[in-house]
Symmetry: D3
Subunit: 319 residues, 6 copies
């Protein structure tokens, strides 16, 4: 039976299935250098670094990142950290009955349900043109939305992370529209669903991990890409490009980073644009905190520092 | 019958009760200068500038800011703006049956109810020490809380504004705690009620208008004043000054402006501190927008610029 | 015969045709206030403030901004500045044979020729898709391009200013492409012609003077408006929206302000985008200097401060 | 006889007592990895890195940071730096007659005398309430003051550093009060003694080396901690919390970092607060320079860069 | 007998000698405008605005800024401020026995003595080359040093202000060199005397009031001007331009503003350069505070805001 | 025949002449550590890291940075990068007929020609005093100008880089003066030739590679050094130090970095100073792009990030 990585302790011998998250062939610096593999093994509970000494040329060619393996090993403490010494390792085969999705970090609820929630929200938009625009753009990325993270590092950086971010924002948006009826709830819904709609194309991700940014992502950026999609939608749906509706949706997307130095070419000038920025910020920041607390050992009083929170750590208060 | 100021039009003759918001004795620059009064008259619907030509020495001594008056006048357009020419003016007497609170801007709901809501929230705090600390500090300013605005200009700058800000934040805080159960709702409530608790002492206000900052307000600031009150409360209530509870409440108050350049000596490092900052920001920013839209004539597409929103104006969208 | 404003001296009596650039009805502060008109009269050589004492109600209704008038007056020094005292004033009639364009500030060369230069540059673009995109977008604003300034205050703020800016940039762009053959001259031309292509729609201008920004201008901004036009052009011309050509042209426009805080959502990442930013900056800054020196009296050693040059003034060196 | 580390040269064989400042058990990357110890040995004159090859398991368990050892070794040059190869190593025993305080960096004068100087300054405060407040707060940390450094890295980062910083500031403060009699010397003394009074509790230090910040240090910060102590002192001493004296002392502490981004929630608004900030800055900056010059080899023209001086190095001028 | 301006009260009739600090000929806005003079009268104790109604053409030509006058008038309150109504006014004549220096603001000690102190400090410099350089540069501006202020607004903005600033800095410098013997006191003295040595040429001042900056002041700046003078001195005195002495003195001057954005092209990298910056800052800031307190009425708790102190006001504490 | 480094492929055996760009003696971490050499070999086409295992003590003493060697080796892939394993290595001898200049990176045209172009430009300066000043300063560094780079990393960081930068700027300057005749072309030429004239003395470079900054470079900086040279030139040539010509040339040099935080003590206030800054910026930025594209393998779509371009990479567009 596989041991979860977060339960491994110094001296444990273990056998189990893991994902190779990182792999590098290195050589010892002895006078006759020998090959070994420097690995990071992962499962859904965490990750551990590992060494496979005396790797053969065949081994070096066999294993690669995101490859599922069965490993027998022993846990040691090295430089105050746990490290696995690999004794035996092989790639998994069909009969092992394991799937990569069992080993990756993902949103805390089922992605299928998240997508249904988003689609319900789209259907509930009353204004026909707004609903059509949102539908058009959502269809472009629906498939990628299953797995897409919301960001590379900062927040919701896992499988289904973007969908999860949108759904939580929709909940908060609904509350705010109820508390402040002067806000147009169709625009709030549209803004929430569309604000990061081009992220799955801006970023190249696999299993919820961002590998790189696409060329479009670097040269145009997800904010302007989404603005272009709205233009495309309007033309294809026969909506006047100069109408206030198109202007409003574009404004929501363009301004949602709030400041020029954060990537927004214009600043929020609609009530819904002001709301959208703060709904996005609150959900992202609180998720960073929640995720960081969950992935920090219970025994630690302080989390690691969080880049998106002014490089501050979070204290695990017990009162 | 009194005409509401927002309904006055060019050429109108009017009689009514108003509040003198500003008053200055000036002299014409004719070779034999003559005295006149330069006034701003206000009621709960707005304000208008006015001139009282040929004011006597007695007039100059009679009228003062925040004085209620009965005025007969005529409306003119001067430099593209409406202006009242005062024909007759006298101070109100008891028989007129008017009260200053009818003429000032105030929170959109009854302050009495707001204070009850805050007290209910205090009572609902489960943790004894937290509840005692909040009670102690709230008692210090309960009386001033009736009228105190939340700020001089930026947001909730009116009678009962601070209480209104707190109550709306409590609603939002309740939602967030429900959505994210890892947050401690006692701390969220305490943080919301206490975050600006020293503002009524930091600012010298009358009828919801800030006249100045107190010496304490300038030299200590409301954030550190509140921190001192918590220390005082702990000593008087016999709570250990070094306990995590005191540390946590102080941290919430000290960090709620988020950044040093915004006045916080430490940055948020508790989950509830992160939440508190964004709850505060969202409520303040959306209220600025809502207030500005309400005090801008319906006929205007754009509000004036809002200092607290990067000096941007808000567009009154019609879709 | 009309006296040019820049030639008026203290004590001069004059008769001539002028443009009313600003006008305000004011009242003296004598005890029986009297109406007068506070004016700014302009011709193509400059502007002068003027007073028309004892204006009648009819006068106040007759004259308005941008109205052409015949004026008889006398020049006085008031508070160390020249000021005209208006003796007689009337609106011009057809027989006077004067036209508003004689009285406004405009680019130093004929706009007609500038537009021809731009169109020649468009025709010289070799790459078919680039040329088609540029043609499509240019057609949208060709008519407005006659009069459109390049900015409200900073630079080229006059009739035909945008066209003049583009043509000078094309000259500089041609030189740079010749000096550095690794640059793609089609992209340089496209970038130059398109970089401010949406400005005539972003700004509401009359006779080369910007009166305001349009709603689109405020909520979308000329950079994103131009990006949208490129999307529209691609769809209507049947060019692949995902192609490198579309991506490159969009990138040039989006990045030409160089930094987020200057309004660009992405930073230059094509050689031609780097070049475009500096071609734009150099032309704008040097034109500010040249224009300011030309509109500053020869007798002044220092120009007024120039906002676009870190609020520095320019010294008129004589060596 | 022990060789001072700063006198060791390439090829020297040496025997002596040292402090283990850092220690890490590592393994060679040979195919059969072997344990060795990577050390930093220190005495009061400096530090040197050292390797103990072929360390046994017992060795790895025996030695730890801040442990005193007797070492026999030889000095080699490795990658252009001196390094000791350890031949024999053992922990010191009582008979060796060595004490840890002989091996740590400390203030250039006796801490005992520094504390007496501070206490003399306290006694010389004329105003009773000020003197009582300072006495109360000083008593809280008097014991820790013996060893406490003034900062982790920036300045006075050694045994007794804080006391030394205070005493030098008192000298400078006395001069300034003499030069500018409008300053209140009681407040200057109080401000100097109290400005960093909470640092020994903000930081967890051992032998003058800061190991970490305490939870209070991170969540409240030494500035607000000191403000709280003043509140506590006032209550316990029966001094009116609203009095100008309490307000003044709190203001001095709260404002002494001068700017919000440097951690002060209010900016200096008393003459003594302005003076305090500059007295603190001058002493800290000059001490950084003096310390860095003293710990840089005489043969070096330039010191390493100093973080607290805009990352600039200091030139050792010889004129 | 002349009444000091700071002693004038509402209703006072007075006769006395004053300096015309500002004067402007204006016209009333009656339909037949009449001339009057808008004045600011000053003496060494303060200033008061004044009106001279019914001024004749001769009056307008007679009086000018910095002109000494004898005035008979009466004090009135206008817009909550004291204002003098001038009844009779004439220029002073020789027999009046008054001199302009009696009416201007100046350093609190005799300038003559300040210059002697500076010259004593120069003579006390031991290093021959440093002393020669300082002497050479000081001779360039010795005459102007009598009257030159240290800045336009910020600090020491009065007759002899620069000399006073230098002398107080020399006192502080002497203390610091005594406290920290590793500092070279010759360099400290040279740096203090030379740091603003070119200011009398950078600024055009009269009677201690800066009227403008010179062309050199704007285009080169006093820091680089002083650097050039050192080069000139070295050449004329036959000192090696590449020597460490010249490099050190230039470095002190160039770096004394500490940061690039404050005008220093290099940052302090000599111990004496670090000291010089803080000696300069401390003296300038404390003098701002002292001057502002002295020119604010004793009855005021708060001074006006001080630009050089982050726009903060100073509180006049009474304990 | 020597193989160019950029043509080496995995598995290649090669013999050739190379430059040792970096060299470090290391030891393997086997229990009996062995010496080896860690090298970077370079030729004009690029660089490759190399290991020389089993180096003898003699080898370690024989080879040094910038030493030319003949190497026999084999190419391997190590950690995804090419690496050479050295089999035999010896220093070159005279008979090998190789020279260091064949192995270093240099400007793309002959330095000899660049220097002639600069001298032609100097001769073409019409104004006698400007030409003399430029000649004087240029003579100071003419010899160093052969090899001097324009910067340590940012741009033109190679043999002859500074001369190449100047010549390209002169071409651009000539165009700008032709396009905008109000610019004084003598000043433009002088500014271009002199703007970095002190860099060869500010930086210590060898074969176009900057090893360090000189003491003068650190303490005075090239901008102020050049200003001093102009002062020296004026004195030695008998030109009035206070003349507008000297002031103008100094201003051009002092202001060419545009902002204080970029090192300029004054900001551009002459038309030619504004032009000079943008000519410098455009040439530097475009050269960074061009150089980076040329040294990035053709197969790479993106260059590495460029520090001088806001840390952005450049995309190699193919259209």
């Amino acid at each position: 039976m596989t041991s979860l990585i977060k339960n491994l302790r110094d001296g444990d011998e273990f056998v189990g299935f893991y994902l190779i998250k990182e792999i590098e062939a290195k050589q010892t610096s002895s006078s006759i250098p020998k090959d070994y593999l420097d690995l990071v093994l992962a499962d859904s509970s965490g990750a551990i670094s590992a060494k496979y000494w005396d790797a053969s040329k065949t081994d070096i060619e066999t294993f690669f990142p995101m490859c599922l393996v069965k490993v027998q090993g022993v846990v040691q403490v090295y430089r105050e950290k746990l490290q696995a010494k690999v004794i035996r390792i092989r790639k998994t085969v069909e009969q092992d009955g394991v799937s990569i999705t069992d080993f990756i970090r993902s949103a805390p609820v089922e992605v299928e349900g998240l997508l249904q929630d988003i689609q319900k929200a789209i259907i509930s938009i009353i204004h026909d043109e707004i609903r059509s625009i949102v539908t058009f753009c959502f269809e472009k990325v629906k498939d990628k939305m299953y797995s897409s993270p919301a960001a590379k590092f900062h927040h919701h950086a896992y499988y289904g992370g973007l969908a999860y971010h949108i759904v939580r924002m929709l909940e908060l948006g609904e509350f705010i529209c109820h508390q402040r009826p002067f806000l147009n709830s169709d625009l709030i819904k549209a803004g929430i669903i569309m604000h990061d709609i081009a992220k799955p194309v801006e970023m190249i991700s696999e299993y919820g991990m961002v590998l790189d940014y696409s060329n479009q992502g670097k040269l145009i950026g997800h904010i302007s890409m989404a603005a272009n999609w709205i233009t495309e939608a309007a033309i294809k749906l026969g909506i006047d490009l100069e109408s206030d509706v198109i202007m409003a949706i574009q404004h929501l997307i363009l301004s949602h980073h709030n400041l020029g130095e954060w990537g927004s070419p214009v600043q929020p000038q609609l009530p819904e644009a002001v709301a959208l920025h703060y709904i996005d910020a609150m959900d992202a920041k609180l998720q960073m905190v929640e995720d960081m607390l969950q992935t920090t050992a219970e025994s630690e009083q302080w989390t690691p520092v969080i880049r998106g929170l002014e490089n501050k750590a979070i204290y695990r208060l017990k009162i």
